[in-house]
């Protein structure tokens, strides 16, 4: 019965699908998948994770990070100068750049784009908050003047979510009343090596090579991106050979026994597993806090949580941001910790973690809870909506005692870490640590231009936070890409989370 049914199905399709087999030359096509749909293709209006790799081959910024490093290099700008007072940035644009609509890119187009990026209705406008003025004195020069010196400015431009130049098809032809937001949700006019050809919301996207690209042509003619929300199905598709790689969320436990047709690339990014401590509840007691730190110690649970794909973090900055000797050591005397807990009245703590990364945070949170139990501290583990975590500070008495989350800064400059997580008014200072002297130190460190001195200032800030028991480093977890043998040229960059470089990716041998 089976062969007949199979034959019938195939036959029906063959009749219905004429031209399925064509004589056209074989194309190089890359097949990938996202776990979530792409929210928008507007580079100024969303913190994309799914779609970030597509976005960076459609649009390009003035500067970017070199592969494997946090060093800056030119992208659409071939060079730049910074004035002595640190206020004026002059960018010399590359010649011969064309937008996907065919029009050449001039400095005036870049200026028009940067004006759009500053529109307060756009989510990512704040990247240019300190800009005072901009001009395009000639076709290849674009100048930005800042209101205050901001040594992290170039890093903000190179950020995964930094400004990326949009062309006149959007900003002139489709500007409308909403700054082309509606049009850019599903269309693009970038300068990158790929054009967005197909947008099928919730199902699939297709990128095709842009023939007039200013740089070397990429290897793949097309990139087909499917939205496959189930990891189990992505794994089967990868094994089957109908997907070429998985760059988001490959389960660590599955990395031990990869089939021979698959390879794996693990690398460090700027993500850092941190523990925020609520000092307005029981952990305001330094003795109890010290006992709790003994249980939090990642040495006790890291292997079980990440199967060897994480190392204990020893600073509040990822190594890719500041490479420094260990700044923090967790206490490890379990007997002393038990004695401290025994001397206290019964303690119950609450450990919280965000729902947006529940799969990654649940196991560490539960392992920490188990370690706390072994010391005699009862701990409840609870998942919270991530946007609720942003308002914990409004009522810290109701917030969890410990908050565990995986955190990405906007860019590779330590200011983007300190200003987002450590400052008193930082948006992700989840459990409301406030210390005016730390805020002053963050503000003054943000003005330092010498890298060594800058790093030392930021490390001192981190040491203070850790000594106060406010924020603690837990782990640096590897980013993992699993791919079919034969692919190469991934060129991961620490500052671009889970991003494969489609521009340099190639297939060296037939994969199937």
């Amino acid at each position: 019965m089976r062969p007949i049914r199979h034959l019938l199905l195939r036959g029906l399709l063959a009749v219905a699908l004429p031209g399925m087999v064509s004589g056209a030359p074989a194309e190089n096509v890359l097949h990938i998948a996202y776990l979530q749909d792409v929210s928008t293709f507007d580079p100024d209006n969303s913190f994309l994770l799914y779609g970030l790799d597509a976005m960076r081959v459609i649009y390009q910024g003035l500067v970017e990070y070199r592969p494997g490093t946090t060093d800056l290099t030119g992208w659409l700008a071939e060079s730049w100068d910074v004035s002595a007072d640190g206020l004026t940035y002059s960018f010399r644009l590359r010649p011969g750049i064309r937008f996907h609509d065919g029009r050449p890119m001039h400095a005036a187009d870049v200026l028009a784009y940067f004006r759009r990026r500053r529109h307060p209705g756009l989510t990512l406008a704040y990247f240019l908050d300190d800009v005072a003025a901009m001009e395009a004195p000639d076709e290849r020069t674009f100048v930005i003047r800042l209101a205050v010196p901001q040594p992290a400015f170039l890093d903000r431009l190179a950020s995964a979510w930094g400004p990326k130049v949009i062309g006149p098809e959007a900003l002139v032809d489709h500007l409308g009343k909403d700054q082309a937001q509606s049009w850019l949700n599903e269309h693009e006019d970038g300068t990158g090596p790929y054009r967005l050809r197909v947008v099928s919301r919730g199902q699939a996207y297709e990128l095709v090579r842009f023939p007039d690209y200013w740089g070397p042509p990429p290897f793949f003619d097309r990139i087909e991106i499917e939205v496959i929300p189930q990891m189990a199905q992505q794994l089967l598709r990868l094994k089957q050979g109908t997907l070429d790689l998985i760059q988001h969320g490959y389960p660590f436990e599955g990395l031990r026994q990869l089939p021979p047709t698959l390879r794996m690339l693990a690398y460090d990014d700027l993500g850092l597993e941190l523990c925020f401590v609520n000092r307005t509840r029981r952990l305001g007691d330094p003795t109890l806090l010290r006992a709790v730190l003994t249980a939090i110690n990642p040495a006790g649970w890291l292997g079980d949580a990440y199967f060897g794909y994480a190392v204990p973090a020893t600073s509040l900055y990822p190594r890719a941001m500041i490479a420094a000797p260990p700044q923090w050591v967790f206490p490890s005397d379990v007997r002393a910790a038990r004695a401290m807990v025994a001397a206290q009245p019964p303690v119950t703590l609450e450990i919280g973690y965000p729902d947006e990364d529940a799969a990654g945070q649940q196991i560490p949170a539960e392992l920490i809870a188990a370690q706390l139990e072994s010391l005699g501290i009862h701990a409840n583990v609870r998942v919270y909506p991530i946007d609720l975590a942003g308002v914990f500070v409004n009522d810290l008495k109701e917030a969890p005692d410990l908050w565990i989350s995986h955190n990405y800064p906007d860019a590779a400059h330590p200011a983007t870490q300190a200003e987002i997580f450590f400052a008193g008014n930082a948006p992700l200072n989840y459990l409301g640590y406030r210390n005016p002297s730390v805020d002053e130190a963050i503000a003054s460190a943000a003005l330092i231009t010498t890298r060594a001195e800058r790093d030392e200032r930021y490390l001192a800030i981190a040491r203070r936070l850790m000594a106060d028991g406010a924020i603690l480093p837990l782990a640096e977890v590897k980013n993992v890409i699993v791919y079919r043998a034969g692919l190469s040229g991934f060129n991961p960059r620490p500052a671009l989370p889970e991003v494969v470089d489609f521009e340099t990716l190639r297939r060296d041998a037939p994969a199937r």
């Binding site: 929210s39 704040y126 919301r201 087909e224 987002i420």
Partner: protein
């Protein structure tokens, strides 16, 4: 009959109004910040406040409710904080996929239910089929979906494991949004065949629980009707089995099955979300799951209202059908 219809419609509208109130209340008490969700976790407070004002979240609750009712009366459901598009536009895009899947799942389920109930009448071997249906239909939907996908897609490669259409095919631009129908209307048989091919697994997954429950109800109703004296009289009058089934048995056995169909449809509205996620089916369930992951409240509420309206419409339709088949229902 018209009075009955009006009463049912008024009832449905009242339920919908109540539902909108519940939805608004939920929006207020859910511990989520749509403004923060919209601008992203690292955006500074000023950006969040701007977004809050833009969404009207800084207004008193009563005023927010007034604006909410106003918007609803115009058919506006707000703007999705994830896709940055009006929710109604998103619904227009994702709803046809769900309706297509549910229609096929529903029809497939009813066909299987009727077949299993009738087979039960005529063949003992068919008991095996019914047992199988009940066993499959009683299992959790995600398990059925995974087993079917593993077997019929991964192992046997008979059907695609996910999606609505082959990635290389460009779907036609309407007019119905049902790819099978649009493929036929536009003369693009390849689209039609491929869409049917993709529909098979998710529709079957969706159909199995319905077919098991409705099939069982129909079978027992038929059994009960066959024991009635008027059936014996009809046989004596010389009616054939086919005539008997058509004119007396199915008509009298149908009301109970229709009631069960209504119950099963409400379950299907929940199951479709799981099935769409399992098979990467780009419909409302999939849209809801993705929106939930980003606390996109306008989208979540829009989908909830849509499913409520869908359920009420089908419910009214089934009530009417029941009233047509059994006049006693109209006076209840």
């Amino acid at each position: 009959m018209i009075g009955y219809l009006v009463a049912r419609l008024v009832g449905a509208l009242a339920v919908l109004a109540g539902m909108s109130l519940i939805v608004f209340t939920l929006q207020q008490i859910i511990p989520a910040d749509p403004a923060r969700a919209a601008v992203g976790p690292t955006a500074p407070l000023t950006t969040v406040q701007l977004k809050r004002a833009e969404l009207g979240l800084d207004q008193p609750m009563l005023e927010q409710f007034g604006r909410y009712v106003q918007r609803l009366s115009r058919g506006e459901l707000g703007t999705s904080t994830r896709t940055h598009r009006p929710v109604t536009q998103d619904l227009r895009q994702f709803l046809p996929a769900t309706l297509e899947l549910m229609s096929f799942g529903f029809l497939f389920g009813v066909a299987l239910a009727v077949a299993s109930a009738l087979f039960h009448l005529s063949s003992r071997i068919a008991l095996l089929l019914r047992t199988l249906l009940v066993a499959l239909g009683s299992a959790p939907i995600f398990l059925i979906g995974q087993v079917l996908a593993l077997l019929l897609w991964y192992r046997l490669d008979w059907f695609p494991g996910g999606g609505r259409l082959d990635a290389q095919l460009i779907p036609p631009d309407g007019p119905t949004g049902f790819l099978v129908v649009d493929g036929l209307l536009r003369g693009r048989l390849r689209i039609c065949a491929d869409a049917l091919h993709h529909l098979a697994l998710p529709a079957l997954t969706l159909a199995l629980p319905l077919s098991a429950a409705v099939g069982r109800t129909l079978a027992s109703s038929i059994k009960g009707v066959l024991q009635q004296t008027y059936i014996r009289t009809a046989r004596i009058k010389g009616l054939t089995d086919g005539e008997l089934l058509r004119r007396h048995v199915l008509r009298n056995a149908a009301p109970a099955s229709l009631a069960m169909l209504g119950v099963q449809f409400s379950i299907m509205c929940t199951n479709v979300m799981i099935v769409e996620s399992l098979f990467g089916w780009p419909g409302l369930g999939f849209y809801l799951v993705q929106s939930y992951a980003t606390s996109d409240l306008p989208a979540i509420l829009g989908v909830s209202m849509t499913f409520a309206a869908l359920y009420l419409s089908v419910s009214v339709l089934l009530d009417l059908l029941q009233a047509l088949l059994d006049p006693r229902v109209r006076v209840l």
